[in-house]
């Protein structure tokens, strides 16, 4: 190498591996996107550029149906989990540590520690019994289950935001005649809002991505986009799935970009 300067932070081979990792991380995704524009139905042989798979997917009634269901569940679960996570964050961050708080943290992070398949099986057992007992078969079960595992994702950015907040601001609001509710409404809420929106986005993406728990909790005819895709992948592979994947990918990137911008503005 021509450059013989000694850099302390350089380790031989590390850069090569890193660049390789980035390429390998994106290559499969890129191929998937590229083949969603394939003229033929092959996912390996290129048969010219075409947009046909997008309208085809859209006109597929089943795809529309599962997409709507996915969006409904994700919206509801994101809203519910963010609301309760916001409340829990308010309850856990602004006073000195107590024993109960460790329990609350443990409970909130529990979905991250237990393998999804175990939770899925456990929910299958419980909800099957409730379904028999009440006769209710609606989307409520899915929304409830999704809300639960979205809570840690919604809680994280909210808590980070609250911990960065100067508590004197609330004292100051009280000093200036604000009732506790007014303090929350005019001071605390506006300040944690970016955290709450970030939490909402993460929760939405997390719910939208879920396969396993949905698979076990859903009643007949309650496929979501991921479970539908899983069935499709097993059956036959059609470029239609690539098109749906690409759209989902775009949605994720948009939400994540929003999340990044929101959490970065803090500094």
């Amino acid at each position: 190498m021509a450059d013989t300067r000694f850099s302390v932070s350089r380790l031989p081979g590390f850069s090569t591996i890193a660049v390789g990792v980035f390429i390998i991380l994106y290559l499969p995704i890129l191929m998937l996107v590229i083949y969603s524009f394939n003229g033929g139905n092959s996912i390996a042989v290129w048969e010219g550029f075409s947009l046909q798979w997008y309208p085809k997917a859209w006109n597929n009634e089943q795809v529309r149906d599962v997409t709507m269901r996915s969006l409904t569940i994700a919206s509801a679960a994101a809203l519910i989990s963010t609301t309760v996570a916001l409340m829990a964050a308010l309850g856990t961050t602004r006073r000195k540590q107590t024993k109960g708080q460790t329990f609350v943290y443990l409970m909130i992070n529990q979905p991250l520690m237990v393998p999804e398949i175990v939770t899925a099986v456990a929910l299958l057992i419980v909800f099957a019994a409730i379904k028999v007992a009440t006769g209710y078969q609606g989307l409520g079960y899915l929304i409830l289950a999704h809300s639960a595992f979205c809570i840690p994702f919604a809680y994280l950015p909210i808590r980070a935001r609250l911990e960065g907040m100067d508590l004197t601001l609330e004292t100051a609001a009280g000093d200036l005649y604000a009732t506790p509710w007014q303090t929350f409404r005019h001071v605390t809420l506006p300040i944690v809002m970016p955290g709450a929106i970030a939490g909402l986005m993460l929760a939405f993406v997390t719910s939208l991505d879920d396969v396993i728990i949905t698979l076990f909790v859903k009643s007949a005819g309650q496929d979501t986009l991921p479970t539908y895709m899983l069935a499709q992948i097993r059956r036959s592979v059609s470029a239609e799935v690539n098109a749906i994947s690409t759209l989902l990918l775009v949605l994720t990137v948009i939400l994540l970009t929003g999340f990044f911008l929101l959490t970065r503005k803090r500094t």
């Binding site: 601001l169 004292t171 100051a172 000093d175 005649y177 009732t179």
Partner: protein, 355 residues
């Protein structure tokens, strides 16, 4: 006494923590603060100044005792029900609101009509000379400007009492002097009772009508600046406010015999036996050796400070006394280490203080 009392603490006590970690931050403090006065709480770090202020503001409830506002018991009223506002040490300006919205916040919470709020905000902006900054966010202001916003915000609802917890400590020296005058002006103009916390004795002396000197949760002495400076009640107060020479001696026929053997005239306040005398350095005079009625001393050291020179003198028994001499006026330049001189205290300068 006919002057009205704005705030009164009656045996206010505050304990933090419990068991072996318990701290008594305030130890049955009683104090009356006159309406319309500039009252200062002065004391070293951790003496309980902030705690007393927080009890008055309502951020904390006392462990025992009472807080009265205009004669009314407000001990258990929440802060938003007290016509008392605070200027926080860290300013605590709302980062998501503009300067104008910050200043109008209190009135908005009180449900005042928009028109009235706008008028009050304009008046306050003029008062603190920030008319051009109404639309800015607090982060876009300098420290001094933020300080003014915090003041204006606390003054806007026209509270009966304004509490200021070391509001100037984050400012540099020059700005600090400027704000001291500004604060005094605002207090005179508005006529609101100010309770000001500081651990800077000079700040306390220049601004206050009355000063309470605190130590370890107690108030040691309350009085006007001159009174506290000239007649400190005990050694701690004398030492904390300004520099002081302490001399030990014994009462002897209405005068005091120092350990060096010299006899000093001073009001003995009916004491007898061993006492401590306090003498301010600027009240020590020096003349040529052998001056009758003076104390004989040797120059140990002389330190030049620009406007004055501090001359360290040693009495016969080795007791050290510092004299502050104005550089221009005195013949200090002629003093060299080892010179024999006479020293004398100005009339009434020597004070007997409690240990």
């Amino acid at each position: 006494m006919t002057t009205a009392i704005a705030v009164e603490a009656q045996s206010a006590r505050k304990d933090y923590g419990s068991g072996q970690f318990a701290v008594r931050a305030l130890d049955d403090v009683s104090v009356r603060i006159e309406k319309g006065s500039f009252f200062t709480l002065l004391g070293p770090s951790g003496c309980g100044k902030t705690t007393l202020l927080r009890l008055i503001a309502g951020f904390e409830t006392p462990s025992a005792g009472k807080i009265l506002l205009g004669g009314r018991d407000i001990t258990y009223d929440p802060p938003n029900k007290r016509p008392v506002n605070t200027v926080f040490q860290s300013y605590a300006l709302f980062p998501h609101l503009t300067v104008a919205q910050n200043i109008g916040f209190g009135l908005q919470m009180l449900g005042r009509p928009k028109r009235e709020i706008a008028a009050a905000v304009d008046k306050m902006l003029a008062l603190v000379q920030l008319e051009d900054f109404a639309g800015r966010k607090p982060q876009q202001l300098s420290g001094g400007q933020q300080q003014r916003v915090a003041l204006a915000r606390a003054l806007a609802p026209e509270p009966e009492v304004l509490l200021l917890d070391e509001p100037l400590s984050a400012l540099d020296l020059k700005l600090r002097k400027e704000m001291q005058r500004e604060l005094k002006r605002l207090q005179t103009e508005t006529g609101i009772t100010f309770i000001f916390v500081t651990h800077d004795q000079e700040e306390a002396l220049t601004m206050s009508d009355r000063i309470a000197v605190m130590r370890k949760g107690n108030i040691l002495q309350i009085g006007a600046p001159r009174e506290i400076y000239n007649h400190p009640k005990d050694r701690f107060v004398a030492d904390f406010i300004g520099e002081t020479n302490f001399l030990s001696g014994t009462v002897e026929e209405g005068a005091i015999r120092l350990t060096s053997g010299d006899l000093v005239e001073a009001p003995t306040q009916g004491r007898s036996g061993k006492v401590t005398l306090a003498v301010r350095p600027e009240q020590v005079r020096i003349s040529g050796a052998g001056d009758p009625g003076s104390l004989a001393a040797t120059v140990a050291d002389s330190v030049y400070f620009g406007t004055d020179t501090h001359c360290h003198l040693r009495l016969a028994d080795g007791t050290e006394i510092v004299a502050r001499l104005q550089s221009a006026a005195s013949g200090e330049a002629g003093l060299a280490r080892g010179d024999q001189v006479s020293l004398r205290f100005e009339a009434g300068a020597a004070q007997v203080v409690d240990e």
